[in-house]
Every structure is written in structure tokens, then in C-alpha cells.
Amino acid sequence: MKNKEKSHILILSAIIFCILYIIFAFKPLGSELNLSPDWTEDISRIKKTNSKDKLIPFRLGQNIGYFTPDGKIASSISFPCKASISKTFYTTFSEDNSSAPLNYADGSLAATLNYSGFPFFDDDRIFVFLPGGSSFLQCDIRGNKIWQYESYSPITSFDSSENGTVAGYADGSIVSFTKSGKISQQFSPGGSTFAVILGTGISNDGSMIASVSGQDKQRFVLAKKDGEHSKVIFHEYLEKDQTKQVLVKFNKKDNTVYYDCNGYLGIVDIEKLKSAKIPLDGEIIQIEESSVDSLVFILSKKGTTYSVTILEPFNNSLGSFSFEADSAFIQVSGNALFVGRDTKISRLTISRK
């Protein structure tokens, strides 16, 4: 009799547990991300575009150019030596460059950059890296120098945003600048046996700098401008050192920063000061953010295998796909992901189903 009562109690408890579990653990199934191919175009098929068309830059091997979201290749320029391209400007130049044309995306000439060195464009910001590897200058749209900074130590990492520029150096120091070139922050993250900066990123508001630095106890450091000083607000050591230059990038809202941590994507939630790592095979070469659901697309490469990994905030990996190529890029615009591969560009529309 006692055994029968016991079994009744157990069955009842199990039923109650199941009911409670269903009530409290209920979570609706998320909609699945869908990438549907729209078009694929060869970069050699140039088509006439309207002046109002949005132009998206590409770089594939020894070709740079622009295409429109609806699949028209507006320009494709072969270059024998070197080139720089952004959504606003492009140029091609030689190894001994001392004068390079500053071209708008539509091909018209804005100015000539009469400086020895390598031009570099980041959106509408124009920089020239000077011979010797430790100095650079920023120009205005007429090609006139706005400001210049020279160091004794080679620049190993660089980033700019609407409100600032940051350079990391081989001696382990970081210097950030305001839009007018005034030094905003200057510090050395330290904490490692050998000091060196391998990657730096600057927030869109210019107040925060993130970096990957050092050898033997390599670490990620996030610093924020605090009056005249820089205050480290988050740091973490990496499991394994790397000697390559690494990508460090803030998202558009400045609440998350991403970095390459040798086989992983490091993600730091700046508001909650917590971090996560997602395994990624190879070197991270591009991080792009979509305005749709704040999705993040990461392009990584290992040898000739390129992978695109898709994340949703904060650290939810939605999936990835890989392809073989000698060169590749990704661009994101609205609900579209553009993937370039050797001589072809494809559009994939992002949707939730």
C-alpha cells in the first residue's frame, strides 16, 4: 500500500514538474535567417549607371571599382601596383608614389595628392602614409594637408571614425587624434613581456579605443577618455599570442567591439563589460554591420578558403558559408549582403522567415 502511495506521489510530482517546465521554459522559436541570391555579375561587364545610383566599392585582386545595389558594375579599374578605395574616393599608385590622383567614386578628379607615400581612404577621410612607415598625414578634399603626425616607431595598426583617428605603434604605444589632428589620447596598454600594438579601433564618437597588444601575455584592452587621461574599462588576456596585424572594430552604436583573437572572434559588450568568443577558422579580414536587426557579417580567410559568418547581437552565431577564392570582399547595404569572389560579385537578400 505504501509503495502504491509513493508511486502516485512520484507520478504527480513528475506531472507538476512537466507543467511548470512548459510554463516557465516556454520560448517561441526564433525566425530563421534566410539569404536568397538575387544576382551575380562579372566585374568586367561595365554598365552605364545613373548619377543618383548608390555606388558600392569593391576590391578584387588587382581590380577596384564600384557597383550598384541592383547589379550594375559602374567601373572596374585594373591597377598594376597598389590602390586604395572607399565609398567616396579611389586612387591607384606606384611603389614610388609621390603624386596620386584623388578620384571621386564616379571617376571625376577631386584633386591630386602631392605627397610621397601610400594614400589610404576610409569613407570620406583621406590619409597618406609617409615613407619610413612611422608617419602619416590627413588631407582635405582639395589635397591640402590638414595635419601630420610623425613617430620614431613604425605604425602597426590604424583606424579612423567620424570623430577621430587612432594609430598603434611597434613600441606598444597608441595615439589617438581629434578630427583636427590634436592628440586626444596617448597611452601604452602594457601588461605583456614585449610591447607592441597589433590592432586598434576607435569608436564612432572618438572617446573609446580598443586594442590587441603585446607578446607573451597578449591582451585586449578597452580604454575610454577620462578627462585628460585614458581609463582602461575592460581587458582580457588572449589564450594564444599572434604576431599578425589584427582587426579591431566598434559597431555603429558603440556598444560592442569585435576583435580577432587567433582562431576566435572576440566580442565585448561595452555596456555590460562582458565578453564572449566565437570560434572562427583563419584570419578575420572584414567586419560589416547591417542596419537590419544589427546583424554582423564577418569575412575570414584561411589560405584560399574564405568564410562569411553571420552574428546577431550579442554573440549568437546564426550560421556561416565558405567558398574558395584568391580574393574576396563583403559589403552590406540595407537588407542586402554583397559577396565578391575573384571576378564576380553576388547579391544576397537578407530576410527572416
Partner: protein, 304 residues
Amino acid sequence: MKLFIFTKSSKKIFLASFILLLSFNLFSFDWPQMETASDSFYSYFGQLRGNTIESSLVFKDSSEVKAADKGNVIAIIKEHDNDFGWFESTLGNAVIVAHDNDLTTVYANLDEETMPKDLPSNSAISTETFLGSSGNSGWQEGQSCLEFQVLDVKNKAAINPRILMPRVGKELPLTISELTLDDRDGKTTYLNLNRKIKSGVYTVYYLRQTVAVPYRTTISINGAVVESISYDMLKEKNGRLCIENSVEGNAEEARSYSKDSLYPDDKRQLLGQVRLTNGRNTLTVSIADILGERKSISYTLDVY
């Protein structure tokens, strides 16, 4: 009238240089590539290079590149010529190695295909470790050769690599010619044409040699050294890479010269600043190579 002189003050300067060399543990580095005669480099430390002062020593012959001393590989810079949105260093493909005594060496303008693939995972390296062959990945002027730098991280200075490297053969000949004096208004007096000068403060220049760079320049008035510029290191000051001077017996007069001061144009190179007072002034300019071999020239000026 030209005079060749050797003053006591100059001797002191060279003694100081010798001590400096000893403090850096003379010739502490091996060759970073095959031996090169002292007069056969493509470009020398301190020379005008584009819009900057040269902080490298650029070799003239393509060669296999090797570590100049034991150390640790701390960074590898790549061209990123296939990647979208990366800045491209004018060093091209480069390996950066940290050594003892807070010294760091930079091996730039390498060919990526020849760089050892296991270098990233093998950070501790010995002297003569192969780092790659010189290529044409960095900013260069027609030469696919090694660009070599030495950094003193503790003192935050780029060091003239030749101070710490073996030296073979004779130095490039130095010449002093076409001396000019600029007054504070920027008016230029050519000493070959005019030696009757109004008293005041002048900046003295001579004709820049396109390849050779002196190790030290000295300027004297009536036998007293008033300024000496040494091309042994470059330091950052107020955001500009500068050569530092020394003014004998007057530390307050110490100045740093950026590219704009050192090389005001493509032709002229700074020697220093002098104050000329009424009467006869003997202006003497000396330039010396890294071995201390000097050339001097003197002008007797009639100052009113």
C-alpha cells in the same frame, strides 16, 4: 678664403660620440643581409625622403634577409593588397624583432612569398634567422631592397643603424658647398657672392648631397663651436620626427629640427644658427662622417 681647421671643441664632440657608441655596445648587430660597403647603400639615415627625414638604412642589392641578432618576433606587417579596408604600411611586408637592451629592429620591404610560414608560431629567433628575401612591397624609389631600422624603445628614438652595424670599406665623400645665410625675414645671402653682412641672427645652410649624409655637422664662430647637429638618432617632438642639436656649454639653446627646418627645400640642408656681431667674424663649418673623417670650410665675414 678657405681654411681647414680642427678645434679642441670638435675633439670633445667626437669623444662624446665615441662614448655614445660604446654605450650602445659597439657593432652589436650582425649584417641583416649580405655585406654592403659603407659607400654603397641606396639611402642613409637622416637623409631627406619624401616629406620626412629618413629613419631607415636602405640597402642597394636584393638579398636574403636575416635577423641581425637574437630576439623575439613581435609583429609581422603584411601588404594586405588583397584585403578591403586595411591601411597599407609604407614598410610593405615587414618583420619586427625585439632584442635585449630595449632595442628593436625592423626588416621591411620583404617579398611575402619568401617569408617563412612558421615565423608567427616561432617567435623566439636566433641571429641570422632567415626572415625572407627583399621584395618591392614597401614605398621605395626603384630599388627592391631591404629597408632596415633600429629603434631604442626605452629612449623613444630611431637609431642610425650604422652605429650598431659592422662597417666595410670607405665612406661616401662629403662635400660642403654653396653656403647660404637666411636672416629672420627669410632673406638669403650667398656666401660665395657676398661676405659683407649686417649683424644679427642667421640660419646657415649648405647644398644637400642627394645620397651622402654627414654623421655630424658643426658650426663655429671665431673658433668657438656654436652649434653641432648629430645624425645619430631621431626623436618625436610635438608630433614631428626631429634631429637634435647640441650647443656647447648652453643646454638651454638645445633645439630639435624637424624635416621643415632641416631640409627647407629639396636643395638645402641645415647647419645651424649663428649670431654675427660687428667686426670680422670667421665662420667655420665642419661636416664629419661616421668614422670621424672631417671636412671644414671657413669664411671671413665683414659684419657691420
